[in-house]
């Protein structure tokens, strides 16, 4: 599963980076990169995001 970002909403603040226990998220100045291979679906980043730019990738 994992998480995905809505780039139009994201304000590239890094708050999600700070709470990810698996270090999946990195901020490249104006763009976050998510490495879902390490994601444990804890949803901390989704809760944390001040603008609601992150969402779960639902199983197909």
């Amino acid at each position: 599963m994992g998480v995905k970002v809505n780039r139009e909403k994201c304000c590239y603040c890094g708050a999600c980076v700070a709470v990810c226990p698996k270090n999946c998220i990195g901020l490249d100045e104006v763009r976050i990169e998510i490495d879902n291979s390490k994601c444990i679906d804890c949803l901390a980043c989704i809760r944390m995001c001040p603008v609601g730019a992150l969402g779960k990738i639902e199983k197909k």
Binding site: C11, Y12, C13, G14, A15, V17, A18, V19, C20, P21, N23, G26, L27, D28, E29, A44, R47, M48, C49, P50, V51, G52
Partner: protein, 397 residues
């Protein structure tokens, strides 16, 4: 590969303050930041109390100390207010973009080097040094230094790359969102305005920090675990204040605030951590500009001793963590409890407090001068009808 005496990662208040102090001591210091403009975008309401000007030796300049502030007004959910106003200036709202540029210019004048659009992608220890891979305007470069000062803000990935877990736990971070609004009015521009209540801002507050005539930072910080987003609450707050909703947005700011306490260990071999990266923020109001600058300067002090002794071991660098707790951390730790108070108060409690507590009482409590007994007498007298609330206040203040 370029080699430096000390490499600082992050050109925020922590990093720039460390750079100036290292340069003053003639240490070959390089500051790297992934941004393309120092101080931009801001993730901050830009308030700085006068005490910090004194402690940091800063003189307010018209260029960046744009609004003198004389106190604060605290509002209950129904809008009752307690006003704390002094005759003299109590602090300033800054234009952080200009402030940080001034800090950068000062550091460079003293001899530091700064490079922007330099994203540190990885860091590893190699033969007693740290080697970092940096993407600098699309080009991959390598730098090395025996000591890194990680001032990389809330992301705090540099320390994690070097083996120290600096992840923030969700209950320990506030989720922040803010608009810089212009064309607004209806509030005293000499005061900071703070709005409390569980419906308004769970575990936090909404704020208006006046910046210029008719212009202010209007923002919110809420518990990181709150179900709805900070933006949701802020939009609701603004919509319910016609004097604000008529304004226009000239900046959108988002950010996390590490309010839940400090790293136990802010160092390891070849590494010091300062500022938001070390969770060095006031747990009650979330202010971190002054604290991170002070910590950056302290890190630089220990770094220069390490350079003089050529000792970059975890054992030696432990001095920094120790000194920081003695200087600031132990005092801030006491304030951690105050944050939990906001979690415990109901909206009815806020109303009752606004009715019974005066500005004088708030100042007395905030001064930290009251001992347990004096506090109890004050609360018991003021909150006669709510013994339960007295208990909560005693536990968390």
């Amino acid at each position: 590969m370029e080699e430096y005496g000390v490499i600082i990662i992050g050109a925020g208040p922590a990093g720039l303050s460390a750079a100036a102090k290292l340069a003053e001591r003639k240490i070959n210091a390089l500051v790297l930041d992934r941004k393309q403009e120092i101080g931009c975008p801001k993730r901050c309401a830009e308030g700085l109390g006068l005490g910090w000007f004194r402690r940091l030796g800063l003189k307010p300049s018209k260029e960046w100390a744009v609004m003198p502030i004389y106190g604060a007004a605290l509002y209950s959910p129904l809008g009752k207010s307690v006003v704390l106003k002094a005759k003299k200036v109590a602090g300033y709202v800054l234009e952080r973009k200009m402030f940080e540029k001034a800090l950068a210019i000062d550091a460079v004048k003293k001899g530091a080097k700064i490079r922007l659009k330099s994203n540190v992608k990885s860091a590893r220890r190699e033969n007693g040094n740290v080697v970092i891979d940096v993407n600098e305007l699309g080009e991959i470069k390598q730098y090395s230094a025996p000591l890194i000062i990680a001032c990389d803000g809330i992301d705090s990935r540099i320390a994690r790359m070097l083996g120290l877990d600096t992840t923030n736990k969700l209950p320990d971070v506030d989720s922040g969102f803010q608009y810089e609004l212009t064309g607004i009015d209806g509030y005293d521009e000499k005061l900071l305005h703070l709005y409390f209540g569980n419906e308004i801002s769970p575990r936090g507050y909404c704020w208006i920090f006046p910046k210029r005539r008719g212009t202010a930072n209007v923002g919110i910080g809420i518990a990181g675990y709150a179900e709805k987003t900070a933006k949701y609450y802020l939009d609701k707050f603004i919509a319910s204040h016609p004097n604000l909703s008529k304004g226009s947005i000239i900046e959108v700011n988002s950010g996390g605030i590490p309010v839940g306490g400090f790293l136990e260990k802010m160092h390891s071999d070849n590494l010091l951590i300062a500022g938001d990266a070390a969770h060095q923020v006031d747990p009650i109001h979330g202010g971190g500009i002054g604290i991170s600058m002070e910590a950056g300067a302290l890190a630089a002090e220990v770094a220069s001793e390490a350079v003089a002794k050529n000792d970059f071991s975890e054992k030696f660098l432990g001095k920094y963590t120790q000194k920081w707790y003695a200087l600031r951390g132990n005092q801030l730790k006491k304030r951690l409890k105050g944050r939990h108070l906001l979690e415990k108060l109901s909206d009815a409690d806020f109303e009752y407090l606004a009715d019974s507590i005066t500005a004088d009482d708030v100042l007395k409590i905030a001064s930290g001068d009251l001992d347990k007994k004096a506090k109890f007498i004050l609360f018991a007298k003021k909150l006669v009808k709510r013994p339960g609330l007295v208990k909560i206040m005693m536990k968390y203040l």
